[in-house]
Structure formats: structure tokens, C-alpha cells
């Protein structure tokens, strides 16, 4: 059979967002792939130059709508470094709690999307059901389910509400029980799930590093890289946690990526519980940030999908002179043809689902 190209997107149930994966198939085997992105390009870096420092948080929220807080936080961190201010200790702890809650919500959204990619609609509804727990917690904390606008330059928007700690513990306890029973059974212990994910979409650690793959996708290749450990920001160095790295054989396949993300759900819960315990119970959560600033700020954080990087230059005005965003998914997307080649057409969905694409941050 001759080879032909199939457009997987921009209107296709596989694409979680607006992008196009052109796949060349020979029968059922993928011989080549070409990601086409840019459908959602909104010119973030340019828009941010005409808005004040503090108001840009609203924009960075929308970089990835399932992981708003982590992106706003990366931006705030970069601006804080440029301004030379530091968040008060309680503010930093609150940020850690917010970041990890957002990471869990984001990973659950990924898990929810990964289910239908494999034909398992039940996984979608179960994961979205538990995501509500964390959206509720985030809403309690920030007042919004989406685009929370919670981190601010110099701290966070508001203090934690009353009883937040108890509610957090209760939700996490319930969630961990669901993870250990329902999710574990429907995903990890399912034979068909193993058949669909093991050994497909392989990428070697060397290739992954060359192409700039970061985050859980790189840790699935067996590379122990986690910016929360290697280059700790906020108060992560005071927290005892283990970056989830795939150590067994068959590294870099869809299953390894699944396991890394899946275990990060549990790990993030432990981080939240520790943070709730260790954080100072009272104190300021925010310092006043100057309106104008001059200099350069640079922050890289461990986003839900990889390393998020913000580079902000101020020229003494009340708005940035230049902003550069490094999106992890943008780099991962460039490496997807390597993962896809040689696999079956049906697996292209299982592979692209496992790398967790977020088009908002990819197209910026």
C-alpha cells in the first residue's frame, strides 16, 4: 500500500486543543509525522510589553488554562528577581500549596484526556470527578475555578481561608484512596492498558535531552531532573519529597510517562500535607512591589508539563521591556515525530496523549 498523509487535527477528537499532527502512514504504520502548531498563537510576549507588571499576571494565567497558577507563579518569580524583592515566608508556603494543588488538577486533566485517547471513557469521568475536589480547594483559596489570578508579584493575592488545612487534608485523604483503588485498577493494573502503552512511543534519554524535552516526559526516560530539587525555588528545599523518575527497563515509552505522572499525583499530595504542617501559621503573605523596575529577571520553575522559563527585562518603566517565555510543550512537540515513527496509527493517539499537550502555552 502506498503511503499517504493523514491530518490528525486541527478538528479531530485526538487533539487536546487546536493543533494539527500530520501523520504519514503506510497501511497502519506511521512512517513520518509533522506537528503543525500556531493555530492558537496570541502574541503573548508582545502583549505583555504593553501591560503593567502586576496586570500581566492575568495574561500568564491564560497561558495554560489547566495549569494557571504554575504559569503565573513563574512569571511573578521572574519579576520579583528583577525587582529584587522577596516573598514573605508564609507567602512562599502558600505558593507551594497552590502550585501543588494546581499540579494535581493539571495531571488529573491529563489523566482524564488520556482515558478517551485509549478508548476508556470511564477514566475521563472518574478523573474529572476527582479534579473537582482540587478545583474546589483552589476556589476556596483564590475564589475562582479557572484563571485564578492568585500569585502576585511579591506574594499571593490573599491569605488562606479559615479551615483550609482541614479541608485540604480531607480531600487529599479521599483522593489518595481513589488513586490507590479505582485509578490503579482501571489504568495501571489493566492488561489492555499495558498492551496499549508498553513499548510504544519510545524516545531515548539522549534524544530527549537533545530536543529539550523536560518534566515528567524526561523523567520517564530515566533522567533525574526536577527543578524543585536541582534548583529549588520558594521553599521546596525544606520539603522532603522524591522526584518521580522511571528506573526500570523500557524507559521513555508511554507507560513510563504515565507512571511518572501518575506517581506525581501521590507525591504532590505528600508535598501539600508537608507544607500545611511546616508553614508558619501567621505572618505576612505579600510584600508591596515597586511599580517601576529596571534590570533583568529570570526564573525557571517545574511546571506540570516541564520546565517553564520566564525572562523579563525592565527598562525603568512600569511595564516590561521584553518578556521571553520558554514553554516545555513547545520543545516536547518538536520531539514527537521521533516518538511516533514506526508505531501504529492507533498508537499515535496513545503517545501524544501521554506527553500531555497544552496548546495554550505551546503557541503562546
Amino acid at each position: 500500500m502506498t503511503e499517504f498523509w493523514i491530518n490528525m487535527g486541527p478538528q479531530h477528537p485526538m487533539t487536546h486543543g487546536l493543533w494539527n499532527m500530520k501523520v504519514q502512514v503506510d497501511g497502519e504504520t506511521v512512517t513520518d509525522a509533522k506537528p503543525e502548531i500556531g493555530y492558537l498563537h496570541r502574541g503573548y510576549e508582545k502583549i505583555m510589553e504593553v501591560r503593567e507588571f502586576q496586570k500581566n499576571v492575568v495574561l500568564t494565567d491564560r497561558l495554560c488554562y489547566v495549569s494557571s497558577i504554575t504559569w503565573s507563579h513563574a512569571y511573578c518569580l521572574a519579576v520579583e528577581k528583577m525587582m529584587g524583592i522577596e516573598t514573605p515566608e508564609r507567602g512562599q508556603w502558600i505558593r507551594v500549596v497552590a502550585l501543588e494543588l494546581q499540579r494535581i488538577a493539571s495531571h488529573l486533566m491529563w489523566l482524564a484526556a488520556y482515558g478517551p485517547d485509549l478508548g476508556l471513557l470511564t477514566g475521563l469521568l472518574w478523573a474529572l470527578r476527582e479534579r473537582e475536589l482540587f478545583l474546589d480547594l483552589i476556589q476556596l483559596m483564590s475564589g475562582a475555578r479557572m484563571n485564578q489570578n492568585y500569585p502576585r508579584v511579591g506574594g499571593v493575592r490573599n491569605d488562606l481561608p479559615e479551615n483550609f488545612e482541614a479541608m485540604c487534608r480531607r480531600s487529599i485523604e479521599h483522593f489518595l484512596e481513589k488513586v490507590d483503588n479505582e485509578y490503579q485498577r482501571v489504568f495501571q493494573e489493566s492488561k489492555v492498558f499495558h498492551m496499549r502503552t508498553e513499548g510504544v512511543g519510545k524516545i531515548s534519554a539522549a534524544d530527549a535531552i537533545d530536543w529539550g524535552v523536560t518534566g515528567p516526559n524526561l523523567r520517564a526516560c530515566g533522567v533525574n531532573v526536577d527543578l524543585r530539587r536541582l534548583d529549588p525555588y520558594e521553599v521546596y528545599e525544606e520539603i522532603d519529597f522524591e522526584p518521580q523518575v522511571w528506573h526500570d527497563g523500557g524507559a521513555g515509552d508511554s507507560y513510563a510517562r504515565f507512571v511518572c505522572r501518575f506517581n506525581e499525583l501521590r507525591e504532590s499530595c505528600q508535598i501539600i500535607l508537608q507544607a500545611l504542617e511546616k508553614m508558619p501559621k501567621t505572618g505576612p503573605y505579600r510584600v508591596k512591589a515597586p511599580r517601576r523596575a529596571e534590570g533583568e529577571g529570570y526564573a525557571k520553575t517545574e511546571d506540570s508539563r516541564g520546565e517553564a522559563l520566564f525572562y523579563v527585562i525592565g527598562d525603568g518603566d512600569d511595564r516590561p521591556y521584553r518578556v521571553k517565555i520558554r514553554s516545555p510543550v513547545f520543545c516536547t512537540m518538536a520531539a514527537t515525530p521521533i516518538m511516533l515513527r514506526g508505531n501504529k496509527l492507533a498508537d499515535s493517539v496513545a503517545i501524544l496523549g501521554s506527553v500531555d499537550v497544552c496548546v495554550g502555552e505551546m503557541d503562546k
Binding site: 493523514i6 490528525m8 497502519e28 485509549l118 476508556l120 470511564t122 469521568l125
Partner: protein
């Protein structure tokens, strides 16, 4: 165990119905003959009493009446299969997997109808049982435009849903619902059913090719590739069963299973073929049937994750409704086949009959047991298919060729050995 079907003989029941209608028409004809005298002859032709006086044969033997009776019998089966069982099965599936996924599922019911007069104030419109949702969906699909892609092969594109729908309905011509409720009692009924079953993948291939779309093409080719992988083990496991039954007539096969195999204290184990050395064939048959029904672990021809909607992508309106909805009809037929071949068909433990004027009327008729088995088997299939991901095309070919076919050949050897050694008697 004595059996008693609710419909002792579909043809006889329909004939009574036809003769009753003819009697009403005849009275009208006699009344009209008072005004138009030449109609008297026609009225007398329809009148059994007048026929006897004039020395003509009984009305029931006239070709016209026989043909009309057959047409009505076929219509009864089609309505019974589609309007009753298809809708119920769709409702069962949608409600069941919704509950599996922690949600309410469909809720449109009779309370949602705008003209439903009773109890409206206490019943919000979307708090029903959801039985009418599928009818609402069907009405919606009927209203939609039927779009044919510009470059599609129009004739083939439009023939394919007809082929799929008609071949699926053909199954029900030979599929009995009880020892009396069937259209045709064929000696080779099971063979006919399988032949009708395997026509649909041809329709899928035609649909995939003619729509001139890459997704449908891949879906159609997958259906063709899959066909071999599951049809062969399915037929082979039935061959293993035929060693035991010595017949391909569904009525005979069920009759053989109505006796008691052995008693475990108060529990009488029936001689269903699943409790015989056919257990291996039963497993192979059920797995292949799941592929035949295109249910989720094996629904790769329309894998919606990578192929949009697979081979149904380009269909719209009621054509889509036909090819989509008839999947449930095939599920009913598949579950019915499993019940007939391995699970004793309509034989059940209790057949309470009341004698009404000398005619035995069953309280729990055979049809009830048969429907119970069909729905239970279907629910197990639904349960499985909403709990596992979809397998890949090469994996299902592996399962079919490397696992199911050897197992079914093994089932044949076991069956032959059981018969040869006298462990199990034919029939």
C-alpha cells in the same frame, strides 16, 4: 421442566389477527354490497361461512391471506426487535455505563413531553428514567440533512447503510425468541444467522471506501482485516458445538439443553452446553462475538480517538442513526446466539402455567427467560467494554490468529474426543 411459550406459534397468531381484520372488512363489504350489488361476490369470497356453502376451500389457505399473514409476522418480529428490544437495549447500555461513570445519564422520559398532563409541577422535565431519550435522538436524526460528500461514490455510499441494516434484520428472520416465537424454523438456522452476521463487515468496507475519506478508508480496511481474525474462531467453536448437537437448528439445540445434567442436592444443574466440555468453545465464541458486535476492546473500525468516527465519519442524519443504532441490534442478536448455543436458550427453572379455558397460559413464559438471559449477557459485555481501553489492530489480529483459532481448534479436538470416548452423547 415443561416449557410454555407466550406465543405458541407466531404464524397462527398472525393468522388469527388477519382473519379478524378480514372479518371486519367483510362486514363493511356486505354493507357496501347493499348499495353496490356486484360487491356481493367479493364479500362472499372473504366470508368463511359463504365459502363453505359454495364449496370453496378454507380462507386461510388462500395465497393472498398466506402472504399477508407472513408479512404481518415479519413486521411483528421487526417491531419487536427494533422498537422494543433495540430501544430498551440502548437505554440499558446508556443508563448502565452512566452509573458506572458516576453520573445520571439520560433522563428524558414521558415527563419531559410538553403535552404530558399529569403531575407536571412535581416532576422537573429532565428527571425521568430516560427511556424516551433514544426516541428523541431518533427524531432529531430524522430531521437532519443527509449530506453526501462531493467526491464520494454516491451509489455505494447510500447502499452500504441499507446493506448493513437489512443484513442485520435478516438475522431475526431465523432467530427464535422462544419455541414458538419465530418467523422461520430453518434446519440450518445457525448457519443462516452467521451468514447474515458476516454481511455487515462487507457493508462497512463499502462505506469506508466509497466515502472517499482517509479516516473512513482506514476504518473500512480495519473491519475487513478484523473480519478474518474473529469470524474463523467463531465458526470453528460452533463446529465444535455441532459435534455435540448434531444439528444446526436453534430449536433443536435448545431442546437438547432442557434436561437436567445432574443434581447438586436441591440444585438441578441444567445440561447447558456451557457446563459441558464446550466451555472452551464458549469462551472463544464470546470473545469473538464481542469483536463481531464492535464493542470497545475491539471496536477498532470506528476508533473515535484516532479515526474521528471511523467508517461512519461521513454519514449524517438517519443514515448515521441506522448504522450506529443497529450495532445494538447486532448486540441483541449476538447475546441471543450465546444464550441459544451455550446457555440453554429459553429454558429456565420455572414455567408456571395457568389453565384458562383449557389453554395453558404461562406466568413466566419462555420469552421472559430468554430476554433475561439476553440482557444479562449484554450487561456483562457493556460492563467489560466500559472498563477497558481499546486494543490495537495488530493486537486483535494477534489475539484472533494466535490465541482464538488455536483455542477453537482445541475445542474441536476436545469435543471430538468427548463424543468418541462416549463421555457425551450426541443430541
Amino acid at each position: 421442566m415443561t416449557s410454555a411459550p407466550l406465543v405458541p406459534n407466531l404464524f397462527a397468531v398472525c393468522e388469527v389477527l388477519v382473519l379478524a381484520i378480514v372479518w371486519v372488512v367483510d362486514q363493511i363489504l356486505y354493507a357496501l354490497a347493499g348499495l353496490i350489488p356486484p360487491l356481493t361476490g367479493l364479500a362472499q369470497w372473504f366470508d368463511p361461512v359463504a365459502r363453505a356453502r359454495l364449496g370453496m376451500g378454507p380462507l386461510g389457505s388462500e395465497l393472498l391471506i398466506v402472504v399477508v399473514t407472513w408479512l404481518i409476522a415479519v413486521t411483528v418480529i421487526v417491531i419487536w426487535a427494533t422498537l422494543v428490544n433495540l430501544l430498551t437495549m440502548m437505554w440499558v447500555e446508556r443508563k448502565f455505563y452512566s452509573r458506572l461513570q458516576d453520573r445520571y445519564g439520560i433522563m428524558i422520559s414521558i415527563w419531559s413531553l410538553p403535552f404530558w398532563p399529569f403531575n407536571r409541577a412535581h416532576r422537573p422535565t429532565h428527571r425521568g428514567t430516560g427511556y424516551l431519550q433514544n426516541i428523541a435522538d431518533g427524531v432529531k436524526l430524522l430531521q437532519k440533512e443527509n449530506i453526501t460528500p462531493r467526491n464520494a461514490d454516491s451509489a455505494m455510499f447510500h447502499i452500504s447503510p441499507v446493506l448493513i441494516a437489512s443484513s442485520t434484520l435478516m438475522i431475526f428472520a431465523a432467530l427464535p425468541w422462544s419455541s414458538g416465537f419465530y418467523v422461520a424454523n430453518l434446519e440450518l438456522g445457525i448457519l443462516f444467522i452467521f451468514a447474515a452476521f458476516s454481511l455487515a463487515p462487507l457493508g462497512i468496507l463499502i462505506a469506508g471506501w466509497s466515502a472517499n475519506n482517509k479516516y473512513t478508508l482506514v476504518g473500512g480496511l480495519r473491519a475487513a482485516a478484523m473480519l478474518m481474525a474473529y469470524e474463523i474462531p467463531m465458526i470453528l467453536s460452533v463446529i465444535a458445538l455441532v459435534f455435540f448437537t448434531g444439528s444446526l437448528n436453534p430449536l433443536t439445540i435448545v431442546k437438547q439443553q432442557e434436561r437436567t445434567l445432574f443434581s447438586l442436592g436441591p440444585l438441578a444443574i441444567p445440561a447447558w452446553y456451557v457446563f459441558s466440555p464446550q466451555i472452551l468453545g464458549f469462551i472463544v465464541f464470546s470473545v469473538s462475538m464481542m469483536a463481531e458486535m464492535e464493542r470497545i476492546p475491539f471496536d477498532i473500525p470506528e476508533a473515535e480517538a484516532e479515526l474521528v468516527e471511523g467508517w461512519t465519519t461521513e454519514y449524517s442524519g438517519m443514515r448515521f442513526g441506522l448504522v450506529f443504532g443497529f450495532k445494538w441490534l447486532r448486540m441483541i442478536a449476538g447475546a441471543a446466539l450465546i444464550a441459544i448455543l451455550y446457555l440453554g436458550g429459553w429454558s429456565g427453572p420455572v414455567f408456571v402455567t395457568l389453565s384458562v379455558g383449557g389453554v395453558p397460559v404461562p406466568i413466566v413464559p419462555e420469552e421472559a427467560w430468554f430476554l433475561l438471559k439476553i440482557y444479562l449477557i449484554s450487561i456483562v459485555f457493556i460492563w467489560i467494554s466500559w472498563s477497558v481501553p481499546r486494543v490495537r489492530i495488530d493486537q486483535i489480529l494477534n489475539i484472533g490468529w494466535k490465541k482464538l483459532i488455536p483455542y477453537s481448534l482445541g475445542a474441536i479436538i476436545i469435543a471430538a474426543a468427548a463424543i468418541a470416548s462416549g463421555l457425551w452423547a450426541v443430541g
